[in-house]
């Protein structure tokens, strides 16, 4: 546990990283959790973990990917999510009203929410973040075949719910679906 942000320079480095990535990552995580408060909590926890091992992380090529992976794992932890919600309810009372969404977004988020978490993660990482199947496979630590299957099923389910057809962003990576 010796990798915590120590010097002023390291603190500044972490702060810059955090400010540069937070908004972008929050968008990605929010679509996976489909709940802003959950997404914020998950992402802040992931950043807090990054802060205590920043000395090591700052040497990585893409520390952002590390934070995203941790956030995705945390989002997948349903027990933790329930506990978090209960704690938040006790602390803050009922959850704040969600931001006003357009009808399209409401439909999409409802449809996303109906997907299993794995499919939701794959859809967001592929269609929003723009990661390839291989990159998603590494990110989520699942075989690429699984990623492809999740993407295909997720897209089918979304299309059925939203009444339209969706195609992969990186068609070339999905030719063997």
């Amino acid at each position: 546990m010796g990798g915590e942000v120590g010097s002023v320079g390291q603190a500044r480095g972490f702060d810059e990283f955090y400010q540069a990535c937070y908004g972008r990552l929050l968008r990605q995580v929010a679509l996976v959790t489909t709940d802003l408060a959950d997404a914020e909590d998950v992402l802040q926890e992931a950043f807090a973990r990054a802060a205590i091992r920043w000395r090591q992380l700052e040497t990585y090529d893409a520390p952002e990917a590390w934070v995203l992976r941790v956030a995705m794992n945390l989002a997948a932890d349903t027990t933790r999510r329930l506990r978090r919600r209960a704690a938040a309810m006790l602390r803050l009372g009922p959850p704040p009203t969600q931001p006003e969404l357009s009808a399209d977004s409401v439909d999409l988020i409802r449809a996303l929410r109906a997907l299993p978490l794995g499919q939701r993660q794959a859809i967001v990482l592929h269609h929003l973040v723009g990661l390839s199947v291989e990159e998603i496979s590494r990110q989520l630590r699942v075989p690429s075949g699984t990623v492809k299957a999740r993407l295909a099923r997720g897209r089918t389910a979304l299309a059925r719910r939203l009444g339209t057809d969706y195609y992969p962003v990186h068609r070339e990576t999905l030719v063997d679906e």
């Binding site: 914020e40 999409l108 269609h127």
Partner: protein
């Protein structure tokens, strides 16, 4: 144009529009707190495993405790117990096999050699938690200070007999300050223990911290009340 990508973009924008990122310093602080919690949890786990409390505590009792403190400098006002012919004065030091200091030690049996006197080697056992275990007996030297709350001072008057027979066993009959030592052959003595000390009114003095006072009082008692203590 990928419609899904556009819709996800829009939904993400709308969903996170109201989000206000907390300051980075708050995130770092949260990380530190998390780290402290982890360290604390690790310490608790280690403590439990090591047996500081919980079911592992028994493991510690089997380990030898730190040796008792050596005799210290003279304490003003304290006199070593008088010792006459046929009498041995001993200090029972804290047992050295890992017993808590406040453990009640009772039913001490002293096995003595026929050549009794100051400095004579004495083997003794005590019933501690229902089991007989050896305890140390150290003849006091002039000016010696009691070394701790588990010290016990015993003046043992023993009438030497032939051989190392059971008749030489001395048994502390009770564990008050004026414990009486009664040998099987009728010889008697007194002992003072920091375990359940009583004052002159019979009021219990709780150890630790009272051993020195008890020691002084015992010296007075032994000289005033025990005829054999002043035997030349």
């Amino acid at each position: 144009m990928n419609d899904l990508q556009a819709r996800l973009d829009q939904a993400a924008d709308e969903l996170t529009r109201a989000a206000i990122p907390p300051p980075a310093v708050a995130i770092r602080r949260r990380g530190r707190r998390r780290q402290q919690r982890l360290v604390a949890a690790a310490v608790v786990v280690v403590a439990i495993v090591a047996g500081l409390w919980g079911p592992g505590a028994g493991l510690f009792n089997r380990l030898p405790a730190a040796p008792s403190a050596p005799p210290g400098p003279a304490t003003p006002g304290l006199t070593p117990p008088p010792v006459g012919p046929g009498q041995v004065a001993v200090v029972l030091q804290p047992p050295t096999h890992g017993l808590p200091e406040r453990l009640l030690v009772e039913n001490i049996q002293c096995y003595t050699h026929p050549d009794l006197g100051p400095g004579v080697s004495i083997y003794s056992e005590a019933t501690i938690k229902g089991a007989m275990r050896p305890v140390e007996l150290v003849p006091p030297v002039p000016g010696r200070t009691l070394t701790g709350p588990a010290d016990m001072v015993a003046a043992v008057e023993v009438r030497p007999s032939e051989g190392n027979q059971p008749s030489q066993h001395l048994i502390i009959q009770n564990s008050t300050a004026q414990s009486e030592l009664q040998a099987a052959d009728g010889s008697r003595g007194w002992a003072v223990g920091p375990h359940r000390l009583t004052d002159h009114n019979g009021k219990t003095i709780q150890p630790p911290g009272t051993a020195l006072a008890a020691f002084s009082w015992w010296c007075k008692d032994i000289t005033q009340e025990s005829p054999s203590a002043t035997t030349p």
